[in-house]
């Protein structure tokens, strides 16, 4: 499973990998560039793949209001 932690809410979810960042956004119903996806201190571009065992942080930048 991929561990996903949301910042600043501190909410956590688990998702089945593998999943590209682009697919992750679609799954979470987020528009690209409204959140940062961070793994091991690096920001991930949309083409990169998340594997089971990965821990990522999602920083929501623009909320829907």
């Amino acid at each position: 499973m991929i561990q996903v932690r949301f910042f600043p809410e501190n909410k956590e979810i688990k998702l089945e990998g593998p999943l590209t960042v682009k697919q992750l956004f679609r799954k979470l119903n987020l528009l690209p560039q409204t959140a940062l996806v961070i793994r091991n201190g690096k920001i991930l571009t949309s083409d990169l793949t998340l594997k089971n065992g990965d821990e990522v942080e999602i920083r929501i930048i623009t909320s829907r209001g």
Binding site: L31, P32, Q33, I43, T45, S46, T62, R64, G65
Partner: protein
């Protein structure tokens, strides 16, 4: 995805520019955008004293960080709204930021001013965001003028500017449209206002803040439940998603093609050369809005 400039693994994707950068090249890109905004819009010179209005959020702290990094004489101003569970955390981030960089920070405490926001909202029933905006604007203007700053800088970004532009256009709010732009000229007892981050999106600023370890406050104000401007941001981002680059074009187009045709509307603050007898703030009324508010709160007990 590879960095367009150096070929390393990219971290930041810029769809509007059809490109991607690694963090080092992104920093260069980002600084170039800020320098370009300052230069093209004739915002300020290295000798001028700048007051940065800081909230503790990513935009204003990133702005302050960059101005210091570029060697500008930039002090911070924080208005402590005294909203429990919110203001104290924001204040802590701002104080830490200033300490770490040995930068000058001015704090206005609304408790001491007699108008903490929750009390004002409770006593007057006024809309929190409107009153909060008015109070902050008052102190930003007043302190910038009284403490002899040349410039008042705010962290408004491209998303803030375009969502506001769209909202104002949809209602043809001419008096607001006239004032919209990255620079507001000085007026009687009001210093020049600038928005050096206006070319950069929220995404770019968040990425810059992250890679530069800018420790900001990301909490939400308990009063701003579903503010409508957030909806506009969302709609604009949806358009931007389908047509990358629209946001910057929309804003730049307004500045170049529309703004020159708008004749300045008369704003109370800028047309008056009359001042409030209590605090010296420009106003046409016998007392300025904030002094009236203070009086109202005092009477209410």
């Amino acid at each position: 995805m590879k960095c367009r400039r150096c070929g390393k693994q990219a971290e930041i994707e810029l769809r509007s520019h059809h490109t991607a950068f690694c963090r080092d090249c992104f920093k260069l890109y980002f600084l170039r955008q800020v320098k370009r905004a300052i230069k093209e819009q004739h915002m300020f010179s290295p000798r001028e004293r700048i007051l940065v209005a800081v909230s503790g959020g990513k935009d204003s702290l990133t702005l302050w960080h960059i101005l210091l990094e570029l060697g500008y004489n930039a002090s911070g101003l924080f208005v402590d709204l005294k909203i429990g569970g919110f203001s104290e955390h924001a204040r802590e981030k701002v104080e830490k930021f200033a300490q770490k960089r040995d930068a000058k920070l001015i704090i206005v405490d609304l408790e001491k001013e007699g108008i903490p926001i929750p009390k004002v909202v409770k006593k007057t029933g006024k809309e929190p965001c409107a009153i909060c905006g008015q109070v902050k604007r008052y102190f930003f203007n007043r302190i910038a003028y009284e403490q002899k700053f040349h410039i008042l800088a705010t962290g408004h970004n491209l998303d803030d500017e375009t969502s506001r532009l769209l909202a104002n256009l949809l209602r043809w709010q001419m008096s607001y449209l006239v004032d919209q732009g990255p620079v507001l000229p000085p007026a009687y007892r009001l210093v020049k206002k600038v928005k050096p981050l206006y070319r950069l999106t929220e995404y770019e600023i968040a990425a810059y803040a992250f890679i530069n370890n800018i420790d900001y406050f990301a909490g939400k104000c308990p009063f701003s439940k579903g503010a409508t401007f957030l909806r506009y941001k969302h709609y604009i981002n949806q358009i931007e998603y389908e047509f990358p680059g629209t946001k910057l074009d929309f804003y730049q187009g307004f500045l170049k093609k529309m703004k020159p045709f708008l004749t300045p509307f008369q704003r109370e603050e800028t047309t008056s050369s009359q001042v409030c007898p209590r605090c010296g703030y420009p106003t046409l009324a016998p007392l300025c809005g904030i002094c009236r508010l203070k009086e109202e709160i005092e009477k209410a007990g």
